[in-house]
């Protein structure tokens, strides 16, 4: 790839998805684009990029942008974070509004492990209000990731990263080396391809929004836009879940970190006590 090729990819990533393409790591870009080049019938990444320049075809542009985004996750990534969500956040929300469904959105769900982990956490949560109901949504920029997420099929390697063995036997069935999430959990989740740079105001209210593995790969200028858009969907006692290492100092007028360094942020500081409990 020439420097001009890298510049083109960086410009596309930024414009279409707000993604910062790591041009300092060409090997990473190559490892993400070469399967796509093969799938699209090109001999090389260079040929793929040449076609991109020559045709400016929307479908191909999006395929490239999607491939440039990372699509990696594990079950219960951040064990303490999920423990706090299961033991404190979800029970507190369900006690505060036993009538309405609690809506949970994994806003960059990649291959689905995160939103399924949330569904399992809700099924395992103690002290829920009687009749508590949950709705789970998974969205991602990448169609291919969403297809895998929706299928709910995972390799033996994938189910051994982060998933306690008791959760595996309780919520999965296996056929040889493939593990399928139980239909009961799978049917709790709805899926949609969503670009977080688009207008999100029609998404409706969410009580818990997870945005992990995203901000640090995002163009700095756009982080604020996305955080503001998501926070505006939270009710006053809603919760935004980021990565513990995400820097959100600029947003402390709308977000307060829950104690424990779990990456859980509360929209309204006055509900801090519930999560600390």
């Amino acid at each position: 790839m020439t420097p001009e090729d890298m510049d083109l990819l960086a410009a596309l990533g930024r414009a279409r998805a707000g993604v910062r393409v790591e041009t300092e790591k060409p090997y990473l870009i190559e490892s993400r684009l070469s399967p796509l080049a093969r799938r699209e019938g090109f001999d090389s990444i260079e040929a793929l990029i040449a076609a991109l320049r020559a045709q400016r075809e929307e479908r191909l542009i999006w395929a490239v942008v999607e491939a440039l985004c990372r699509c990696e996750t594990t079950f219960f990534r951040g064990r303490e974070t999920f423990a706090a969500l299961r033991d404190a956040v979800l029970p507190a929300l369900s006690q505060r509004r036993p009538e309405a469904p609690i809506r949970v959105w994994s806003a960059a769900c990649a291959t689905g492990q995160e939103v399924y982990s949330m569904a399992i956490a809700a099924a395992e949560a103690p002290n829920l209000a009687t009749g508590a109901r949950f709705e789970f949504f998974g969205s991602d920029l990448s169609e291919r990731c969403l297809e895998k997420a929706q299928a709910g099929l995972y390799t033996q390697f994938e189910v051994q990263r982060g998933l306690p063995i008791r959760m595996l036997v309780k919520y999965f069935e296996n056929q040889d080396d493939t593990w399928a999430i139980s239909p009961r959990i799978r049917q709790m989740v709805r899926w949609k391809r969503i670009n977080l740079l688009a207008d999100l105001s029609a998404m409706g209210r969410f009580d818990v929004i997870l945005l992990r593995n995203v901000l640090r790969g995002m163009d700095a200028a756009l982080r604020g836009k996305v955080i503001e858009a998501l926070v505006s969907l939270l009710p006053p006692d809603g919760v935004l879940v980021l990565d513990p290492e995400d820097d959100v100092a600029a947003f402390d007028d709308m977000l307060a970190a829950a104690p424990g360094g779990t990456g859980i942020y509360l929209r309204d500081p006055s509900v801090r006590a519930a999560v600390a409990a």
Binding site: F157, Q160, G162, P164, L168, E173
Partner: protein, 121 residues
């Protein structure tokens, strides 16, 4: 330093597991079957046992049942590490007192993740 007894009839697997576990701070002892492992445990109860299922002389599940009946035998965290990947096998292991379960093939990340799940790290 925490101790881990690696029980597997394959010397290669024992060696790989030893390297991974030493990297995350365990002192390692090795046994090639359940009988040998039981002798180790009677002499010095380890903090953790990484346990194969299919072995000559005494297999992993028989060892685990006997271990849990020994004085002090409830204490070690036992992590199975086996090619057996059916839900029936996993349930049997949990019923016999296993704390975690690794399906081969494994890598260092999986051992580390599973030892963390078992509360060993």
């Amino acid at each position: 330093m925490k101790t881990c007894l690696v029980v597997d009839d394959s010397r290669v697997i024992r060696k790989v597991a030893r390297r991974v576990l030493e990297d995350i701070g365990f002192e390692i002892a090795e046994a090639a079957d359940g009988m040998e492992a039981l002798a180790w445990c009677r002499a010095a109860m380890p903090d953790a046992v990484l346990l194969d299922w299919n072995m000559p002389v005494m297999n992993g599940i028989e060892f685990l049942r006997l271990l849990r009946a020994e004085p002090g035998g409830a204490a070690p965290k036992v992590v199975f590490c086996t090619v057996e990947n059916s839900v029936d096998h996993i349930r049997a292991a949990l019923d016999a007192g296993a704390d975690e379960y690794i399906m081969k093939p494994f890598d260092g990340d999986i051992i580390e993740a599973k030892f963390a799940e078992a509360g060993l790290l």
